[in-house]
């Protein structure tokens, strides 16, 4: 199989010529020890294996997505970023590979795998493109989970099989006037017999350009405060649903982020997801899990950026030696590597806790908060290590730098994460 990574060094006048595509070489799975599968660890009598132990299935999935991302997705990344547009080919291939229905039951055309597999998939995708990773993350951790946990048989039948094969979903909570203060949302749903009329507007809705179904959080009874919030399944072609022009963003540009206008939208009663008035609970619950997904995205982003920059430092020679060999550089690189490792362990542990059915919210907050900060540090340092070339768009690190910023902002800002953690810590000392 001809390696797609062999390109000619075509840039004239640069000492280390590494056109974009060749940089992908650095992204091969660089574990220093061959991974041991959970089955192998058990066979050796290791009953508490390290966090970086995967079941055979998880390992195979991670390797498959790693290969797919670096060979099939990488060529699209820079163009998608420049044009601020996700290529439909990319989305199609995500569905073909089974990456959009990881936890969905095979009965509905899904892969039937576990939450941890989703986390690994998102991490591998983020190493190549954080925008593609977020599309996959929202689909798997928010949309699919909501339908699986709350859907009636009819709703599951209608939507799950589409979500795993060809339809993207969007989660609509935020509004212009309610971000962190999500439950002060103003979108109203008024009941009329066996249907609801929804009016309002949403903002910052990811995947909106591509979504075929929207999960809209609206309040059926504002006088009840957040206890009126309910979740409605709105199809894209519903009359009165207007998808606004997408935002022109600093980073994650290939991911469409649009405002939504809901103008007297008629939604039948059977399109209510779960129970009326319980929407706030569902939102909190899903976002707790989605948090770990975002942590995985930021983790992959940091690792991917790191994997691009370090090979450069090993090649670039100044003052007669590799810049990697200068002690200051070594210390910085080692420090960043440590932060990434810590971020990885936080993320994997939060995921395993959730899978084990144990309390995981504080750990999920820690994972999301920490990995987004680590991503910011890593990408900033990587640009510095690469010097002038790091600052140009010919090399991929500047994209990682721009992409990481949203990590501390969306799906719960850093301040919200910290406050949530503090609440848990407070309770821990109650007795």
């Amino acid at each position: 199989m001809a390696s797609p990574l062999i390109r000619c060094f075509s840039k004239v006048g640069r000492q280390v010529s590494r056109p974009w595509s060749v940089c992908q070489h650095g992204l091969r799975n660089r574990s220093t020890q061959p991974d041991m599968s959970a089955e192998q660890a058990a066979a050796l009598g290791v009953s508490y294996p390290p966090l970086q132990t995967y079941s055979e299935e998880e390992g195979m999935m991670r390797d498959a997505v790693n290969k797919f991302a670096q060979e099939r997705l990488a060529p699209f990344v820079s163009k998608m970023d420049e044009n601020s547009l996700m290529d439909p080919e990319v989305i199609k291939s995500l569905f073909e590979q089974g990456l959009m229905g990881i936890e969905i039951d095979p009965e509905y055309g899904g892969t039937g795998s576990t939450f941890f597999s989703s986390i690994l998939v998102i991490e591998e995708l983020a190493k190549v493109d954080a925008s593609v990773a977020v599309l996959c993350d929202i689909q798997n951790t928010l949309i699919n989970t909501l339908f699986t946990k709350l859907g009636t048989a009819a709703q599951k039948e209608r939507y799950l099989s589409r979500l795993s094969t060809d339809m993207v979903g969007s989660f609509c909570l935020s509004e212009a006037e309610s971000g962190s203060d999500a439950f002060s949302l103003k979108t109203r749903a008024d009941k009329h017999g066996d249907y609801y009329i929804i009016n309002g507007s949403k903002m910052w809705i990811s995947n909106a350009e591509q979504a075929g179904v929207f999960l809209v959080m609206a309040n059926v009874d504002p006088s009840a405060g957040h206890r009126g919030i309910s979740c409605f399944v709105v199809d894209r072609d519903t009359e009165g649903l207007q998808i606004g022009k997408k935002e022109n963003k600093l980073g994650l540009r290939a991911s469409s982020t649009c405002p939504l206008n809901l103008d007297n939208i008629k939604v039948p009663e059977k399109n209510v997801l779960g129970q009326i008035g319980h929407g706030y609970k569902y939102a909190i619950g899903m976002l707790n899990e989605g948090r770990i997904g975002i942590a995985a995205q930021m983790l992959g982003l940091a690792q991917g950026c790191f994997d691009q920059a370090v090979p450069y430092t090993r090649q670039r020679v100044q003052f007669g030696k590799r810049i990697f060999d200068f002690q200051a550089m070594q210390h910085q690189i080692a420090h960043v590597a440590t932060q990434i490792e810590a971020a990885r362990l936080l993320t994997y542990n939060a995921a395993r806790l959730k899978e084990a059915g144990r309390p995981f919210i504080k750990e999920a907050c820690m994972a999301k908060y920490f990995t987004s900060e680590v991503a910011t540090l890593t990408t900033s340092k990587c640009i510095e290590w690469m010097g002038g070339v790091g600052f140009t768009k010919d090399y991929p690190v500047e994209k990682y730098y721009r992409d990481c910023k949203i990590g501390t902002i969306y799906e719960g800002t850093t301040n919200i994460q910290l406050s949530t953690m503090a609440k848990f810590i407070d309770k821990e000392y109650d007795h």
């Binding site: 195979m60 498959a64 590979q97």
Partner: protein
């Protein structure tokens, strides 16, 4: 005899783009500990071809076979995830594995193909670690079956297989009768990615275990590796001003 089962024989090799392969200090071989291994790229192409033939309904079953230590089961699983129906792992480890060469492997594959009544045996043309390009040919000879090597196109035509071969002079088309041995060359196809649902399905597929002794194969090597050396470091070139200088230099170092 309509084609029933196809055997795809896989090789586990050192990862193709691993940056530095080192020779062991005692020059007995190459360092393999801690080096990532994966399915030989030509074997991936062989698997893809077999799965394609099954999808076109020319064959009923694809069996993935490999010889080696436990690591090899991962390779077989990948083949299962690509679409093979079941796998056979012939366990060879330790000293036997180090001494295992194309002849021993060919004997194993031949014995298996006969035992399972395969109608086609497809292999990669060569393993990228030793570049031997012998296993396929030896397997065919041991079975006394026709062979279509360096295949860049394979078509099944009733009881025969039409193979377009890549040869030094260009392309050669031959028609051979089944059962036959084919070896896959680079341009035969582009291997598919194992999709996640297929990886999940692969878990349920069976991999049978056996030892060379079960097949009556003796693993004693007739080849002894005397030395492995790194290629000599490339020397700098020399620039000359005129053609006459060039001729003089070539004459001086005995090239002409």
């Amino acid at each position: 005899m309509s084609p029933a089962s196809v055997f795809v024989c896989l090789s586990l090799t050192l990862l193709s783009d691993y940056p530095v392969i080192r020779v062991k200090p005692d020059n007995s071989g190459v360092v393999t500990d801690g080096v990532k291994h994966s399915m030989n790229p030509f074997c991936e192409i062989a698997v893809e071809e077999a799965v394609k033939l099954k999808e076109k309904k020319f064959i009923k079953e694809v069996v993935a076979v490999s010889c080696g230590p436990t690591q090899v089961t991962e390779t077989i699983r990948t083949a299962l995830a690509m679409g093979c129906d079941r796998g056979i792992h012939v366990e060879v480890s330790g000293k036997d594995y180090e001494a295992m060469g194309p002849l021993q492997i060919a004997k194993i594959f031949a014995a298996l193909a006969k035992k399972e009544e395969a109608s086609l045996v497809i292999l990669g043309k060569q393993a990228i670690d030793d570049d031997c390009n012998q296993t396929g040919q030896m397997t065919a000879a041991l079975l006394d079956w026709p062979q279509g090597t360096f295949a860049s196109e394979v078509t099944i035509d009733g009881e025969k297989v039409k193979v377009v071969r890549e040869i030094d002079g260009g392309l050669e088309t031959i028609k051979i009768s089944m059962p036959a041995v084919l070896t896959a060359d680079l341009r035969l196809n582009t291997p598919r990615y194992a999709t996640l649902p297929n990886i999940m399905k692969a878990k349920k597929k069976k991999i049978a275990n056996m030892k060379p002794a079960d097949l009556g194969v003796d693993m004693v090597s007739r080849v002894e590796v005397l030395r492995v050396d790194e290629p000599p470091t490339r020397l700098a070139g020399v620039k000359v001003e005129t053609v006459d200088d060039l001729v003089a230099k070539l004459k001086a170092n005995g090239t002409i």
